[in-house]
């Protein structure tokens, strides 16, 4: 799903995406999701385009982009590893496992490696709380994580 399957930035393509969604009620969120799905992030240059189409101020659109944790303003790493940081996962050792993953990847939570290879970030519950600790690796759901599973994930992310 991820692993860099994103399109390179194109203003034309962005305009097309905006046009495809602009007639939906409350179109801003579906547009931002579609932009991020295409390019991997929401570039600042797209904000005025959305604002103009939806007849909003730039500040309003900027406000929406920055309010939601999901929207990225920078491209993510080619691999995106999200580890659940919420309570049920903590109850079965997610804190220690996260520390192990940080160590293994040489990254702290919320960081992208300087070579753009991998992003490690927290997520707050995937509804997998009965097979915790859980996470999402390049869009794929993973449960019952342990250090072996983290080793495998790190190996996948080294490619």
């Amino acid at each position: 799903m991820h692993a860099s399957g994103y399109e390179p930035w194109s203003a034309e393509r962005a305009a097309q995406i905006i046009a495809d969604h602009q007639h939906m009620a409350g179109a801003a969120m579906p547009i931002l999701h579609a932009i991020q799905e295409a390019f991997g992030f929401v570039p600042d240059t797209v904000v005025p385009m959305i604002a103009e189409t939806l007849n909003l101020s730039r500040a309003e659109v900027h406000g929406v982009v920055t309010f939601y944790h999901d929207f990225r303003r920078e491209p993510p790493g080619r691999h995106v590893i999200k580890l659940c940081a919420a309570e049920a996962c903590q109850s079965v050792g997610a804190r220690a496992l996260t520390a192990y993953a940080e160590d293994k990847l040489g990254l702290e939570m919320g960081e992208t490696s300087p070579d753009g290879r991998v992003t490690l970030e927290p997520i707050y519950c995937l509804g997998l709380c009965a097979c915790a600790p859980a996470g999402m690796v390049n869009g794929r759901l993973v449960g019952r994580l342990d250090t072996d599973a983290i080793d495998e994930i790190a190996a996948e992310a080294s490619r």
Binding site: M29, L32, H33, A86, A88, Y124, C125, G127, C129, A130
Partner: protein, 520 residues
């Protein structure tokens, strides 16, 4: 001869535990052996510790095997999986598993039994009887039936659903909306997810009935982005329902119009709060609105709106089908019907347990849930999500009931129970509650926005042993301010996990350890 039917679940939990690999291994192994069999992907029963739970149809009923890994497939086939023969992973007849047998499945009656995207399966198991009834008795009687059932909102606040519907029905407007709250942000909950992934037509039917009842023709499901599979299954189900005439201008030939669509959240917990959710649906920042006006009067795009939790809506079909009185007969006190309780975290038998209100917390955790997964003693459970209290074992006699929990400053919320063993540091958990509040605050009120950050800092000092007494007084005071000065329950209820941790486990906050009791 009937062909062999094998069921391999495909909800998010099963998939996260390797169900897709199991399904592939099975189909390859069967092909290699020249055996014709149908592999049905069947959502999930919600017995998550057994996932992937492979089932095979036998004359005696469905026999289960779990948890199955792809590498188990050859040995399963050799042992006679296809005839339901014994194997180390065999759990016998699935319907006889005590965890399932002890449940009262009303809302979740079909989950794990049917193919989620088969309308034929859905109808063969009672689907669309509720809508047929609603169309027959008409809007006013439908609202009344829901009122009579005693159903209270399953999203947390427990407000009577029938009263909410009456208000919307009685408010004239050019357009009304049904909004399903599928933001399910509480850690330890997955009931909404399971309906969407295992019985999506149940939600579609429930929303359609709501639309008919109050005169709304358009519905939105606001689903969190952390549930990509739910979004996918729901989108497919909506398309199927449209093609079958179950959504559209003339639903099921009833003369009523209703259509709906999915919308995706973007990782903001506060968007589970109903007015923040409406703002988000309108394409804005998810900032909480002051009430009044109530969403029932001025909701989405300023129109009268029913906003209900997904489970509230998915329970409506069975209420219409079997009658409000049937549903009301389950439960205790003012908590009527059943609740899907979600057993999660450090628990041996994690999963969904739908049962009538009134069961004790201790029975849920110890008898049904089998205690901790680690085998260590239970120290505390957090009930009702990140805004719910930590309850010690001494409160395990509390019956699962809105009022009984409230009397202990605790919360049923959306029905999640997260179990912790004795290795948990409750000061850490209290700090996490403040940190989470700071992370998710919508920023509208100062006690929540600033208070949560101060609370986290103060807890850091307490944990470091710095001016302990003085800082504990500051923390207590801060919690009081947040409780009284917050517009919504994010700021207003974060004090509950914090103060309950402090009250019940003072030794984790640097107090002298409690003297061991003379007798148990």
């Amino acid at each position: 001869m009937n062909s062999i039917r094998i069921y391999v679940p495909n909800d998010a939990t099963a998939i996260a535990c390797g169900a897709d690999r199991v399904a592939r291994a099975l189909s390859e192994a069967l092909a290699a052996r020249g055996i014709a069999a149908d592999i049905v992907r069947n959502g999930s029963r919600g017995l998550f510790w057994l996932e992937p739970l492979v089932e095979v149809e036998t004359p005696a009923g469905r026999v289960g095997y779990g948890p199955v890994k792809a590498s188990d497939v050859p040995s399963l086939l050799e042992s006679g999986l296809l005839e339901g023969q014994p194997h180390a992973l065999c759990v016998g007849l699935v319907e006889e598993i005590p965890y399932l047998k002890k449940q009262t499945r009303l809302t979740f009656a079909r989950c794990g039994i049917i193919d989620p995207l088969s309308l034929d399966d859905y109808k063969a198991h009672g689907g669309y009887r509720g809508l047929a009834k609603a169309a027959e008795i008409g809007p006013a009687a439908t609202v009344e039936e829901v009122f009579q059932s005693g159903l209270r909102g399953r999203g947390g606040a427990g407000f009577p659903t029938g009263i909410k519907w009456r208000t919307v029905a009685a408010t004239p407007a050019d357009q009304k909306y049904i909004v399903c709250n599928a933001d399910e942000g509480d850690s330890g909950t997955f009931a909404d997810r399971l309906i969407m992934e295992a019985d999506p037509f149940c939600l579609i039917e429930g929303m359609t009935i709501a639309g008919l009842a109050v005169g709304a023709t358009k519905g939105y499901v606001y689903c969190r982005s952390e549930y990509p599979l739910s979004l996918d299954v729901m989108n497919k189900a909506i398309e199927i329902a449209r093609r079958a005439g179950l959504l559209g201008d003339n639903v099921m030939g009833s003369g009523y119009a209703f259509d709906m669509e999915m919308r995706m959240g973007a990782g903001a917990y506060v968007c589970g709060e109903e007015t923040a959710l409406l703002e988000s649906l309108e394409g804005k920042r998810g900032v909480v609105r002051a009430k009044p006006p109530l969403p029932a009067i001025k909701g989405l795009f300023q129109r009268p709106t029913v906003i209900n939790n997904l489970i509230s809506l998915a329970t409506v079909p069975v209420i219409l089908d079997k009658g409000g009185a049937f549903y009301r007969d389950f439960g205790m006190g003012r908590s009527r019907g059943t609740m899907p309780i979600q057993l999660a975290g450090n628990i041996r038998f994690g999963g969904l347990f739908e049962t009538a209100f009134g069961i004790s917390l201790g029975e849920l955790v110890n008898e049904i849930g089998g205690g901790t997964a680690s085998g260590r003693p239970v120290k505390a459970v957090q009930a009702g999500g990140p805004l719910g209290a930590y309850m010690p074992v001494s409160q395990f006699d509390t019956p699962f009931d809105y009022e009984a929990f409230a009397a202990k400053d605790a919360l049923i919320g959306h029905g999640g129970i997260v179990v912790f063993d004795d290795t948990v540091d409750m000061a850490h958990m209290a700090r996490f509650a403040m940190e989470f509040c700071a992370h998710e605050s919508c920023g509208k009120c100062t006690p929540c926005r600033i208070g949560s950050t101060r609370g986290k800092e103060t807890l850091d000092k307490i944990m470091a042993g710095e001016r302990r007494e003085a800082n504990l007084a500051i923390l207590t005071d801060l919690c009081q301010t947040m409780k009284l000065g917050s517009l919504c329950a994010l700021g207003g209820f974060t004090p509950y996990p914090v103060m309950s941790a402090l009250t019940h486990f003072p030794e984790d906050f640097g107090a002298a350890p409690k003297l061991p009791m003379a007798a148990e």
